[in-house]
Every structure is written in structure tokens, then in C-alpha cells.
Symmetry: D2
Subunit: 264 residues, 4 copies
Amino acid sequence: MCRFLAYHGDPIFLETLVCASEHSLVHQSLHAAECKTATNGDGFGIGWYGERDIPGLFRDLRPAWSDENLRSVCTQVRSGHFFAHVRAATGTVTSRANCHPFAHDRWMFMHNGQIGGYAQIKRRLEAALPDALYHARQGTTDSEALFLLVLAEVAKGSPPPEAVASTLGFTKALMRDAGVDEPLRFTAALTDGETLYCFRLACDDRPASLYFSEQPGAVTVASEPVDRGGDHWQAVPRGAFITVRRGTATTVAPFPWAAEAVAA
Amino acid sequence: MCRFLAYHGDPIFLETLVCASEHSLVHQSLHAAECKTATNGDGFGIGWYGERDIPGLFRDLRPAWSDENLRSVCTQVRSGHFFAHVRAATGTVTSRANCHPFAHDRWMFMHNGQIGGYAQIKRRLEAALPDALYHARQGTTDSEALFLLVLAEVAKGSPPPEAVASTLGFTKALMRDAGVDEPLRFTAALTDGETLYCFRLACDDRPASLYFSEQPGAVTVASEPVDRGGDHWQAVPRGAFITVRRGTATTVAPFPWAAEAVAA
Amino acid sequence: MCRFLAYHGDPIFLETLVCASEHSLVHQSLHAAECKTATNGDGFGIGWYGERDIPGLFRDLRPAWSDENLRSVCTQVRSGHFFAHVRAATGTVTSRANCHPFAHDRWMFMHNGQIGGYAQIKRRLEAALPDALYHARQGTTDSEALFLLVLAEVAKGSPPPEAVASTLGFTKALMRDAGVDEPLRFTAALTDGETLYCFRLACDDRPASLYFSEQPGAVTVASEPVDRGGDHWQAVPRGAFITVRRGTATTVAPFPWAAEAVAA
Amino acid sequence: MCRFLAYHGDPIFLETLVCASEHSLVHQSLHAAECKTATNGDGFGIGWYGERDIPGLFRDLRPAWSDENLRSVCTQVRSGHFFAHVRAATGTVTSRANCHPFAHDRWMFMHNGQIGGYAQIKRRLEAALPDALYHARQGTTDSEALFLLVLAEVAKGSPPPEAVASTLGFTKALMRDAGVDEPLRFTAALTDGETLYCFRLACDDRPASLYFSEQPGAVTVASEPVDRGGDHWQAVPRGAFITVRRGTATTVAPFPWAAEAVAA
């Protein structure tokens, strides 16, 4: 399991949420509270949109809690749209290319969850990628594979939630074919730099935790509230996703795929 | 705090204690049980005596639990005398030179504890080092400073336990002068490659945990027993040290300095 | 390009060839003489056979010339059969999983060369791997893909040189289909822990340099002689491979595939 | 030896000088032209002034030429005042704390050169630091020691060039006392975030190369011109220093200490 946060709103220094708050993401890297493993020390990453067409990406292998580069970059960089992630590896190696977030063109993605029986379907998942995205793959995680499959659907014209639904449906079908009993869990954030989509899904109805806070000019989505006392946090319902655009508008909706997938 | 183990006996593969046992040191790096912090992810190190005059040293910055190099080296290397350590940093940076064990000539040392108010006395501690050992210092930890001060005493002819007593007495005096209230804690292992000394000391009578197991041809000393059910483990008494020579002879003795230091 | 060496003979400390000699592999990492790039600083690796069924592997990302762990491990470990490699990356990321040597079961492989137009045929190369080897892939290099394809042929019963011939033939055919003009170059070492095969091949007749030295109880194969004045080094002829067994017997033979591939 | 650059002027993306130009600093990390060693692969660092009181710092151990984080941060971060450095270590270990630039409060420093016989005078240099700066020391290099000594002089009220003169005079005196014959070389950049001072000094009149380019709204100082054909680059004379303020004003002046030190 992992912990992550996504911010969309008026530009703030990344450190506000990543390092400085009472239960910041860096604090969660050592003391996660709503997670099977309290320790998320297998690398970290931040991704942010600034003045460029593509997001900046800084991912490294040392635990977030002691990385002085992470702290300094987060102190200096201000962004109105950023992701941050601390990783607890589930089977794949610790390498920068396996750290979240993943970026491709303007898109960015991070994931907290897993594909049950991934080793049994990895090959068929990867085979479903179109050439360009196959070559864009840099690491070996299930998460990056899901991201690229979603982008393939988006490239065909699907709105992101439908692209996610179709990708998860396809993945679940591969798992069924391979006789996998373990669940598919997908608590994740996806953005094109303008609209943020966050999902809290699992075919066994036990998705990883996800919360959001909507305040004037600032929507934050996080695995765990970053300021413990804050009553402005709401849980994203299981089987739902939220959409954030232009700083404040947050829409919570049931995910089209959830019911069917659980049934399946 | 940190976790460590020392082995002296018939040569075994390092992995036996470092990676493979039920509560191996690698397991303790993520799930320490008798420690303020369960996570010891700020680097690790192994040091071992083989065919050379000086010990081998392999120290790195990533958490021990996911380091494939550590696992492979421990699978291949067999030694009758080795140290292993996983670190939870207490204020100094994560760098290889700050990872334990420390080695100098034939000597090796590792430490679980701390010098209270270290920043206030660091300069005077370092000033007490003779030139050659001042230059041998590679990192910035209190632990390495203590090691080199002990070696300075040994070089003057003191037996190791007396060298430790004198070093801790000197350090405690500096702390008193500086008005430091925090304790000096010293659970540590020291060896010249032939005799192993392990100490469990603290001026506030709350030293970090330390256990030993004496079996035919194998003495193991560890922060926590590495096989949980084993009733062959005994706690090293507070304020005591043990001496291990030629594979099996273990002597537990009260440490000469302890009483005086607590009084002081 | 990269530099490598392979040793087969009476057990020696790895440092003899890796660190200590006049033009050791570590020296070549900074001052390669027969290589397009003098600097081979994108990671390194050693692999050695000891008392275990599988080889030990130690690969890391920092330049070999300044890695104190590499130096210490090479000072301590003695082996009668080992590989060492320093990498100059050609397009793929610097990660441990992309460092040579690669190991699978008892087999080990390292490579100095490249597949021209790799991005255009990577997908079809990987698709040719049987399931078990597809899942064994840990990195993203062309070299690891070639290694696993060779192992697939060996698993079908081919002797290693034929497995290499068949793999290179297949690769060359994919390159032709994709309209790739760049060459396929394969200076490489392969072993099962008992017999060592080293190849110096390229479809444009410009394979990377390779030398061998046969002395009593010691055969060394290296990209560049490790002791500059030594007249005991012979170049492996272009389009040839050598076989080393039981310490001394070295056979140089033309590689069956070379002529055909150049023609094609 | 090392290579570095300093920029002061209208805000630009760091990549312009660090990664993108024909002979950018990243290019110089692998192909330095005016340097004893062409390879500067022992870590790198960037430091920049943005919206905060203190500079941002990002230093890491892998060679600059293959570090994807460096590239991404330099693509995103825009600054009107920044430093960048690639290191070729001269005896001290490769660690983040030994990478340039060094920062303390608002001050930043980087160095290309060395203190001859540093091991013989290190202790006395460090002993000259006032307490607060002694504790601020994070690494073990001669460069950081010089930086902190200069800051100690500045704290006493010296203008930076005089602080440098006094520090180098003191260092040279220690070298003389210790009977050191090797030279003291100091090609360096120092700034408080507003005024940039760059020095090209050596007691043997063989300081490392240093150039500057003054264009409207942009002064760049670099070990080697970053665009090879550019005739807007001038060498900083040996024994001189330059001062850059408010974007364009560059003053080249003889360094007060140079003559005396050479005489001594």
C-alpha cells in the first residue's frame, strides 16, 4: 500500500501539504494510520504543473522522511496543481521508474492499490498497449501499466472516467481468465493538468482510504487527512470518484464500473 | 534508535541472521518490537571478517528490507565474526559514512543509543581525538566519534572495556559542563576481529535492549532475538557488558563505569 | 558502450582484476582506451560464483571509480569464476535492474554492444519470450532481452553458442523487417557457472574490442587488457567466440552465424 | 577539478544553461574541455533563489548527465540567480553533503580548486570556525570549510572579497606552517542572493579556468563557455575577481590577496 495526495487550487508551496502539516505526506511515510503498513519507505515522488506544458517530476528511492532534496524542492516550488506519493512496494523492485507519480505528455497518474495476481496477467496487460505507449513504459509496476492503458482509451476519445472503467473492466476480465482470486483495488488520481479525477474503487469493496477537502480556492484529496483535527475532510465513498475543475468545483459520483465488477 | 546484531562462532552465511530468520535484522528494520520506532529505514550496514586483515564493509542508504544487494551479499558471504546494523537516524544526515558499523584498521564498532545534547559537545568531543583518528573520521555521527575516542584509549594501552569506560566518563563530563539533561545511552558492540565486547549502558538506567544467545560454536548478540520463540536468549543486564572469545566463552560482567556515571 | 571482464580459474580476490591492476576495470570506468566513450559511469555490477548454487550479484548506480562498497566487497570476496561490468548507458535509464551482469538461476550474462533500432523491435523481441522468462525480466535493456532469449533457446536444448546464433539471427530478422540500418553488435559473456562463452560479433564487422589471456590456472577475458604491458593478451578475432572450461582450456572458433548475418 | 556556472539576470529556466546549450554544464560533466579530467561524475548540485529567503538546493550523487530528476527540475524552475556544479572528487567521499553548492542562511558557495595538503591542516581549519558555523558543517570537504570560514569573516563585518582574502591568507599560513608544497587554488562563486562574487585565484598562478559573459539582463559566469561559438565570453584574468549586482553591472578587479600570497 502507499499514501498519496493531490492538490488543485490557488498556487501554494508544495511543502504546505507534503512536509509541513501535522500529518503531512512525509509524516504519513513513517506513520500512516489507515493503512496495513505504517511505513511507506520504498521511494517517493512529486509531480507538479508550473509554467511548462508538461509536469515536473522528482522521484527518488530514499524514504521521504529523510530526503533533504525533497524538502528543499517542496519549500521552493509553488504550484496550483500537484501530486505527491510515498510508496510501500508490493513485489516490484525499488527504482525511480517504479515510483509514482507517472507522467506522459501532459498526463499524470498515481495509484494506491494493486492488481491481484499481477504476475499472471502482466504479459497480457502489456500486450494490450498500443506501440507508442508500450515504448513509453519505463518501469515494471502494475500501476504504470494501468496508467498507460487508460491513456490508450483516452486517445481513442473516451472521457477519463470511462477510460478507467474500460481499463479496469479489461483487467478484471484478464484476472478472471487467469483464475485470480485476489482483488483488484484502485484508489488513484489522474489528471491532464486541468481536471483532476480521483477514484476509490475495489472489486472486493475494500478500496484503500481516500478523503477530500473542499475549501475556497483549494481542493485537496489525500489517502489520509493531512491535518488531523480538520473536520473539513470527507471520505470519498467506496465505489465513487470525484472530479475537480477550475479550483473549486468538486463532483462526487458513483463509478459506472463498480457494481458490475463486484458482481463479476 | 537502531537495531543490530553481532555474531561470533563457526562460520555461517550472513543471511542466516540478517535476512532469513523469523525476526531477522531485515525484519526488524521494518517491524522492530522493542524500540521506540518500529522503522529502521535510514540506511544499513554489514561488516565481516574473512580472509583479510581488515573487515569487509557494505553500507548503503536504502532501507534494508528492499535492498537486493544486501540480500545477495548476505547469501554468498560466510563469516565467523560479523556485525549487521539497521539505522533510524537521530538528527544527522543519511549518508554511507554515517551508517554503522564503522571500521578502522582491524576494529569495528556499532552503536544503538545517543549522546544527549550532542550538538552542544560535538566540537569538544572531536577536539579530543588525536590527529590520526581525527583524520580517520568520515561521517558526522556521535557514534563514530565515540568509536574513535575509544580507539584512542585503546592505543594508549587500555583494555577495551576500560577504554569505553574512560570515553563515556569523558563524554558525560562534557555533557555536565554543557548543562545537558538528556541521557547518554550506549548499547554497542566493539571488536578487534578476535574478541567481541557488547555493552548495555545508559546513565539514566534505560539502555536500549540487548540479548545474547550462547550455543555450541555460536554466540549471537542482538537488539532483539532473531527467532521469536527461542528460549535460548537472555537479556544482557542493564549496566553490564559481555565478552566473547574463541567462539563460545561468554562472560557477563558489571560495567565499571555504570554506577559512578548514574550517580554523576 | 561499456567495458567488462570475465575470469575463470583458480580462485582470486575480485579486486585483483576489478580494482588493483594498472588498467583495472575500475580504471577503465574512467579512462577506457578502446571505446567511443572513455567514461563508463552509468552504474556497474559484479557477479560471482561461490559456495551457492546461484551467483552473487552486486550492482549499483554510482560510478565504479568512487564506490567504496564495490572496493570493499572486491577486497573480501574470492572466486574462481566471476564477471564485472561498467556501464555507459545507451538510451535506457540508469537503474540497478539495467546494470550488468544479469543473472537467472545459475546463468549469468553481460554485454557490450547494442541492438540497432532497439525501440522499433523491443516489443517483438519481448513478445518472443516464453512466459517464465517474460516474468523474469527486471529491467528494460536490450541486453537483458537478448540474455533471456538465449536462455529460452538453451531451455529447448540448444548448446549456448547455437542459442546465441539463433537469438541473433532472430533479432537481425526483426531489425530487417523494421527497416533498421543501424548495426547489431554483440560482444558478450555468458556462463552457466562452469563453462564460459565469450563472443565478439557484429553484423557490420565492427564489434567492440575483446581480449583474452590464458595463463596456468587462469583465463581472463576483458574489453581491454587490465595490465597494459602484458603481452599475454590476444585479441579475440572478429566474428569469433571462445569457450573456457575447467580453468585453462580455451577454444577460439568462428561463430556460425557471423557470415550469414553480415551477408543479410 | 570540477565545473560550475553562476547566473545573475532576468529569470530564466535553469535548463537553458544547465542542460540545453551546446556545451551546457551537463555536457561538461562528461566532456569538460579545459580541465585535467574530462569527467565530472562524482555528484552534482544546483542552488537557486526563488520566492523564499533561503535558496533551494538539490544535490545528488549520480552523474549529472544521466539524472532525470536534475533534468526535470531544471526544466521547471525559473530563477534570476542560480548556481550549478558538477563534481570530480579529489579525495573526499561522494556524499550529498560533499556536493556543491553549499548553502547557509541566504549565502551560497561553490568551488573549483583545492587546498594543497588539506589532510594536514583540516583540523586547524575546522578549529578556526566559530561554534555556530562549526555545527553548520554537514560534510567533510575543504570547500565547505573555506565557505564557512568566509562566512565567519563576513559575520565580523568584512565585505565578501576581504573575507575571502583573509580566509585564504589564513589557509595559506596554515599550509606554510605544515610545510605543504602543493598549491592553494580557488576558483569559486559566492553570493548572498543579491550580489555575486566570482574569484579566479591560485597561489601558483594556475587557477582553474573561469569565463564570464555580460549581455543585457544576463551575466553568466562559467568554468567553460556554455555555447562554444559565443564570442561574448571573456576570461576572468588570473588573480582577479568579478562582482555582479542588479543584473548587469560587472566589475573585474585584481584580488587584494593574490600578489602577497604568491610572494609567500
